[in-house]
């Protein structure tokens, strides 16, 4: 009942204190909810943007890479192949750009009220799940369309692999949160991060198998390629939903390890930088 809080300068690595984050879980929820509420205010199309953005992207990529460049899509219609990858990629790239700026955007809260600062990047990353869910609904429609479309030559099968999909979603969240923690904490001290983010996301897009398949990469370099955790996530999504490739086991193990290392190191880095947020921001 009578909790004593000690306030003293901390040095070196700080304890993660994830329990505090749990106590403030409602704040995570409210901040997510605020971001979603505010995002489509004063827009003509409102929440339809959550559908339009990935669909328009997919159409452009289909014309450009599926049509003009004629990249392989492993026997799956290119739109399905591409859209399956755009789902987790959208979650990841949005997390990077939103969470990267989230601390600075919430400066007034940070300098006036105590709450575990982790709440901010966590809620920012989790808010992307709503867009993910909407886009997932669109994917189902696209799959149904191609399943029944005459001449599409695509049959969707329910396989046990589909059950592993939540695990890949978790892997996507772990990667997104890990990198977001690094970027958001760095952005407090080095505002350069905000300027680098667009390039970073763009380069990342091309080193991730979104418009092409990872089978295009020679097997000699697969391990290097898998150091990008989003590679594992996206190949996992394709494997689980579309049944492409055999289980990308090696790729997955490497990607998962990297994602976990980034998350844990990100948590420690964030906690270490956190103590000066209110003074530096």
């Amino acid at each position: 009942m009578d909790s004593i809080i000690f306030l003293r300068p901390t040095r070196g690595l700080a304890a993660l204190n994830l329990r505090d984050l749990w106590v403030y879980r409602e704040l995570v929820y409210f901040l997510m909810w605020r971001d979603l509420k505010v995002r489509y205010k004063q827009t003509l199309l409102g929440a339809s943007w959550a559908i339009l953005q990935p669909v328009v992207q997919m159409v452009i990529f289909t014309l450009l890479f599926g049509g003009v460049a004629n990249l392989s899509s492993e026997g799956v219609p290119y739109p399905v192949f591409n859209f399956t990858a755009l789902l987790p990629w959208g979650l990841f790239s949005k997390a990077l750009s939103d969470a990267g700026r989230a601390l600075v955007n919430n400066r007034n809260m940070i300098t006036k009220v105590y709450f575990p600062r982790l709440v901010i990047p966590v809620s920012s990353v989790l808010a992307g799940l709503v867009d993910f869910a909407i886009a997932f609904g669109v994917l189902v429609l696209i799959i149904i369309y191609y399943h029944f479309a005459p001449g599409a030559n695509f049959d969707f099968h329910f396989t046990p692999a589909l059950l592993t999909l939540p695990l890949f979603l978790i892997l996507a969240l772990v990667s997104a949160l890990g990198f977001s923690l690094w970027l958001s904490a760095m952005n407090v001290i080095y505002r350069d991060v905000g300027h680098v983010l667009p390039f970073l996301t763009q380069i990342w897009f091309f080193i991730t198998p979104i418009v092409y398949s990872s089978s295009e990469i020679s097997s000699k370099w697969q391990w290097l390629y898998a150091l990008n955790p989003m590679t594992g996530v996206i190949e996992g999504f394709r494997w689980a939903i579309l049944g492409t490739q055999s289980t990308p086991a090696l790729l997955l193990i490497i990607s998962t390890l990297v994602a976990v290392v980034v998350l844990i190191s990100g948590l420690f880095y964030f906690r270490r930088m956190e103590r000066s947020f209110a003074d530096e921001i």
Binding site: F6, L7, W33, K37
Partner: protein, 436 residues
């Protein structure tokens, strides 16, 4: 165990001030600094190998100076005590509250807090203009650490207190500033922590709003909760608190029962009778190019006086130097009572013609002087504040506590009755007495 709510032991907080008043580092700075360190280290190594002995010079040219916002502050607060904290701008009040509310960490020392802390360093933190009043109540409540069920339980009470009733589902960007403040304060006022830390939140809003805030604050205090209360408003401090800390330049200067502490605070630093002189080192760097030199009170014969007579006019002058021309400058004074209540505000370019004529003041040495008419102020002790600013552009200099002086009412109207008169003014009014 004991009934201590807060124990602060030798807390200090330093801030690094760089060469420029820059708010954040960029990556480039870090890289160039690192580069400089490497070069310096190489240079050092080269000199070492050359057998030179002039190693005493610092290899780091970018040595940052630090300022201590708080230095070795220690005090205890008993459970249920309402403690006031006063001090001038920059004395460290806000830093202390930020540390106690866990927004920032102390640089050295430690504090113990027994119980849940609610801090009100600002009202309406996290309010979003696009969200409705209802939505902002939930959001702001969660930010302040309230649980959802708690907010739901108090929702009607909050709405009622805020008096925004019918607009509760309107986005707050359409609210008047008064409504916005009332709603923001209403949420904060319904926070029920064991320890409440309150900064100058009452300094905003109209008189009615302030009255309401003070009322709520005294309810909180009477409910037996521990409260730390910072304010410039001495009557609020006197009304709400039993004991008060006085901070001066980051140190705890005085702690006593509130009336004594307020006297100490209001009287502190007023030894230079009738005159306040500023040394260049006392003036913050961001005041440039405005450089205050002196503030004086003079009697009609031109003598600098500590005690003015209310039956004579008295003149107040601000002497200053401009190192560069300033456009739109206004130099003015505030007159306050010892309780911290404002009597008036006046600027040297209040007259539109004068403002036109002095629209840009060239660099030079100036005096701005005004005269208060005779039979105007009541007897008592008054405080003068100085403000030099360009409206909505920049406040060059502000000293809210520059000089104090006395007014002696010998011979003033009504003096044949030996009674104190209420109010800060004692005008000689032209009364007519007629028989009807």
């Amino acid at each position: 165990m004991d009934d201590i709510a807060i124990r602060v032991e030798n807390i200090s907080k330093s801030y690094r001030i760089g060469t420029a008043p820059e708010r954040y580092r960029t990556l480039r700075d870090s890289i160039t600094n690192a580069g400089r360190h490497i070069l310096a280290a190489r240079h050092l190594a080269a000199r070492l190998s050359a057998g030179r002995s002039d190693l005493a010079r610092s290899p780091d040219p970018s040595s940052h100076s630090t300022i201590w916002a708080l230095k070795d502050v220690s005090f205890d607060v008993r459970r249920g005590q309402v403690l006031g904290i006063v001090g001038r701008n920059g004395a460290g009040k806000s830093t202390l509250l930020k540390i106690l509310s866990r927004v920032t960490e102390p640089s050295t020392g430690q504090a113990e807090i027994h119980g849940r802390v609610g801090s009100l360093l600002e009202v309406g933190t996290g309010f979003h203009p696009e969200l409705t009043g209802r939505e902002n109540i939930y959001l702001n409540g969660a930010i302040l650490g309230m649980k959802r069920v708690e907010i739901e339980r108090k929702f009607d009470e909050i709405v009622e207190f805020s008096e925004v009733g019918q607009f509760i589902d309107t986005p707050v960007k359409r609210y008047s500033s008064g409504m916005y403040l009332r709603l923001a304060f209403a949420v904060a006022a319904h926070l029920e922590p064991e320890i409440l830390v309150v900064d100058e939140v009452l300094a905003v809003g109209d008189a009615e709003f302030q009255r309401k805030c003070l009322g709520k604050m005294s309810d909180v205090a009477q409910a037996g909760r521990t409260v730390l209360f910072v304010s410039h408003n001495m009557s609020a401090i006197l009304r709400l608190t039993e004991e008060t800390l006085v901070l001066e330049k980051g140190r705890l200067a005085y702690r006593a029962a509130t009336p004594e502490a307020v006297d100490y605070y209001m009287a502190a630093g007023f030894s230079d009778a009738g005159e306040r002189l500023w040394q260049a080192s006392e003036v913050p760097a961001d005041a440039a190019p405005f450089q205050p030199l002196a503030l004086r009170v003079r009697d009609p014969k031109g003598r600098v006086v500590d005690t003015a007579r209310s039956t004579e006019p008295l003149s107040i002058e601000v002497e200053y130097r401009l190192d560069q021309p300033i456009t739109g400058l206004r130099v003015g004074i505030y007159l306050l009572t010892m309780r911290g209540e404002y009597v008036f505000t006046s600027f040297d370019t209040d007259d539109p013609g004068k403002f036109e004529q002095h629209s840009t003041r060239p660099a030079g040495h100036y005096v701005s002087r005004c005269t208060l008419p005779a039979n105007w102020l009541n007897e008592g002790r008054y405080v003068l504040s100085v403000n030099a600013s360009a409206f909505h552009v920049k406040r060059y200099f502000w000293d809210d506590h520059a000089l104090a002086f006395n007014v002696d009412a010998t011979g003033a109207p009504g003096k044949h009755w030996p009674e104190p008169r209420l109010g800060p003014v004692r005008p000689a009014l032209d009364w007519m007495i007629e028989t009807l």
